[in-house]
């Protein structure tokens, strides 16, 4: 990040500069702002002030900070001891963070990775934070017009707060309050960016709402805060593909995603994330699902040093359904601690969890899941399947399934399998002409297929390419 300045002494003067509509693709902006290192009351005040937020948001942030201080870090799960907050900038404006406006300044290795991923050059430039993406801008604008006609709101979260304060205030932090957990509290104190989605009653959207469209604004923040509201009877798919290794030196990503599925709505949230290998990725994502509504998560986690991510689904209305499909790939030195949490709090609710993990070398993947059936949730059904694939003898996997049933009529199934990359399968595929590495990649793809097939084609293709890159050197 050579052309990033150190802490800007005149942050206050810059306040207000960000008010051009950030969801409109703009030319690279001249102004930047970065908070001082570490997490403190002062930093939080700076952030809120800089964003020109309403008073209630500043209060909310400060309260959350107090809660975080009180709570302290979790005493379970992966080792986070080398995560030092005093070394972290809790707010960097994304454009600045990307750090460059010239394609030539993007490190060769990053460009090489993009090239091997087969990402079109225009998209490569955008991922690297270079320039505006005019082609996608046009596509986006025509879609956006159509959505606006239907009353759909699709903005980055900061803009959402500015432009739709009533809806925002009604739902914000109702699904994941700062009290929920330490990292949710930290996020609440310093959040920035993320997506704000509101789909009115009865509106169905065919094309997935892609966060990709918002990247040039603030959607890929380090502490992103996504708020998605599906009004009764709405139907849509929100998708976030962060498929190229995020080009930054941040070591800490902690997002909060809140989703409200009102009666009879059908909401899907899909994300494929590929973090650089030094990142602690600690995310709280949760949906509240009302009567006869359905929520589907598809969560793919690659890269990072440590990931802790357990998409949660609260089935609070009768007949609500939830589905969690997840993929985790733990490479050398990585710990993917992922899973799912499903709470059945109403009768005739049902849930399905399918978790697929792959571990390679010194990588470790853990499934951590909770299925809870409350008393009175008669006829609730839940089925959990977690499958682990080990690519070599060194790789590790473990499962922590917790099941709490307080209702006699509930049906809960749990199945876990661990398999190793099978020599016989590899030989078989090789005997048909596929080179060993390709054979192994095909087996892995087949292993992930039940989940990957739920992705739109272009995302599935990118997922496959990512997996192949991760697998390089793992056989032969």
């Amino acid at each position: 990040m050579s052309d990033l300045t150190t802490d800007h002494p005149d942050a206050e003067k810059l306040t207000g500069m960000q008010h051009e509509k950030q969801y409109e693709f703009s030319l690279p902006e001249k102004y930047f702002f970065k908070s001082e290192k570490g997490l403190s009351k002062r930093v939080i005040e700076q952030i809120s002030h800089y964003k020109n937020e309403p008073e209630w948001m500043l209060k909310f942030r400060l309260k959350a900070f107090e809660i975080a201080e009180k709570k302290g870090r979790p005493k379970w799960g992966p080792d986070l001891s080398s995560l030092n907050f005093d070394d972290i900038y809790f707010y960097i404006r994304p454009q600045d963070k990307k750090g460059t406006n010239s394609w030539d300044d993007v490190p060769e290795e990053v460009r090489e990775t993009y090239r091997r991923l087969g990402i079109p050059e225009a998209e490569q430039r955008m991922l690297a934070g270079v320039g505006a993406q005019y082609e996608s801008e046009m596509v986006y604008h025509s879609l956006k017009e159509e959505w606006e006609k239907q009353g759909v709101i699709f903005l980055d979260t900061d803009t959402g707060l500015q432009e739709h304060p009533e809806i925002f205030k009604e739902y914000f932090a109702t699904v994941v309050p700062p009290e929920d957990n330490y990292f949710a509290a930290v996020n609440s104190a310093v959040w920035s960016g993320g997506s704000f989605v509101y789909v009115p009653a009865g509106v169905e959207i065919e094309v997935p709402l892609q966060a990709y469209f918002l990247i040039n604004a603030q959607s890929m923040g380090q502490f992103e805060r996504t708020l998605i509201i599906g009004e009764p009877g709405s139907k849509f798919h929100y998708i976030e593909g962060c498929t190229a290794p995020t080009y930054n030196s941040d070591s800490f990503h902690s997002g909060v995603i809140e989703i409200i599925c009102q009666e009879g709505s059908q909401v899907r949230y899909s994300t494929i994330q590929n973090w650089s290998h030094n990142v602690y990725n600690l995310v709280t994502q949760r949906a509240v699902v009302h009567k006869d509504a359905s929520m589907g998560w598809l969560d793919g986690n690659l890269g990072s040093k440590v990931t802790m991510k357990y998409p949660s689904t609260y089935l609070v209305g009768e007949g609500a359904t939830g589905e969690v499909l997840s993929i985790a790939f733990a490479s050398n030195g990585q710990h993917q601690d992922a899973g799912a949490k499903v709470i059945h709090a109403a009768p005739n609710t049902s849930s399905t969890v399918v978790s697929k993990s792959i571990s390679k070398g010194t990588g470790r993947s853990s499934y951590r899941g909770l299925v809870q059936i409350h008393e009175g949730a008669t006829g609730a059904r839940s089925n959990v399947e977690c499958d682990a694939l080990l690519l070599d003898d060194q790789a590790k996997t473990d499962t922590y399934p917790y099941i709490e049933i307080n209702e006699k009529t509930a049906h809960v199934g749990h199945e876990a399998t661990v398999s190793k990359l099978n020599d016989e399968q590899i030989f078989y595929l090789q005997s048909r002409g596929l080179p060993e590495a390709e054979a192994a990649a095909l087996i892995v793809r087949g292993f992930l297929e039940p989940v990957a097939k739920e992705l739109p084609l272009e995302y599935a293709v990118e997922l496959n390419r990512l997996i192949e890159l991760e697998m390089e050197g793992s056989v032969g």
Binding site: Q425, Y428, Q430, S431, R432, G433, L434, E438, A439
Partner: protein
């Protein structure tokens, strides 16, 4: 030394240090179909896997030549791309990988990177093969052997043979476990592959397969060696008398 044959020359192979193949000599010229018979445990499957390059076997002596060129130093996939095909006695399952997808990859692996097979060309090829085997077209969307019956797996091995069009194929007990109808269908597939450009070694226990796939030559394997080579009448003789008389002859 002919260039147009699959030649196994004094082949010795071990598994876990134990000798299984003890000097196999056998030649399958292009354009011919040979049968390889022999009691259980005589080393037929081992021979076929060693030829295909299964890394769990160690070749200690001898050679395998494809059209006059040794293939022992080649990886299994290189052997396949050189024109060799093995229909496995026990085909494995590969969950989540559809037959169509897999065969397209296998065909493309035989082609230059910028010369992938066209969608229509591939589809026609696949459809023809499916028809030859009296199979339902939906089979190509199913995952490779996932939930297949024994018979379906065998049929899939022949389907792949028809699509991949190898120069030489080894069929390891493709007939075992099949009822007569399935046997006819599978034989139909193998006979469809017969051509002056194709040689096959058909491993079987039973004479009955050879009523449908008529072999040019019959070899008999016993304790890691080919001990007798003859015409198709040899198969009938074996069917009548079993292997014991041959064993005695060899011992004598």
């Amino acid at each position: 030394m002919s260039k147009n044959q699959l030649e196994i020359r004094n082949l010795h192979a071990n598994v876990d240090g134990e000798a299984i193949l003890k000097g196999v000599d056998l030649i399958v010229p292009k354009g011919e179909v040979h049968a390889l018979m022999g009691p259980n445990g005589s080393g037929k499957s081992t021979l076929s896997k060693v030829i295909a390059g299964d890394p769990s076997y160690e070749v200690t002596e001898g050679d395998v030549l494809l059209d006059g060129v040794s293939i022992l130093d080649l990886e299994p996939d290189e052997r396949a791309r050189a024109g060799l095909y093995l229909a496995f006695q026990y085909p494995v399952e590969v969950p989540g990988v559809s037959i169509a997808n897999f065969l397209r990859l296998a065909l493309n692996a035989r082609r230059e990177e910028d010369d992938e097979i066209g969608v229509m060309e591939f589809y026609n090829k696949l459809q023809n093969a499916v028809k030859t085997l009296n199979w339902d077209e939906s089979i190509i969307e199913r995952n490779l052997h996932e939930g297949f019956s024994g018979g379906e797996k065998k049929r899939s091995e022949i389907l792949q043979l028809l699509v991949l069009e190898p120069k030489y194929a080894i069929l390891d007990e493709t007939d075992s476990g099949l009822d007569v109808d399935a046997l006819k269908v599978v034989s139909q597939g193998v006979n469809a592959a017969r051509s002056p450009e194709f040689g096959a070694l058909v491993i079987t226990h039973y004479q009955r397969l050879l009523n449908y796939i008529i072999p040019d030559v019959v070899h008999v394997m016993l304790d890691g060696k080919v001990i007798r080579t003859g015409s198709k009448e040899l198969a009938m003789e074996l069917d009548e008398k079993g292997y014991d008389w041959l064993k005695e002859q060899v011992a004598a």
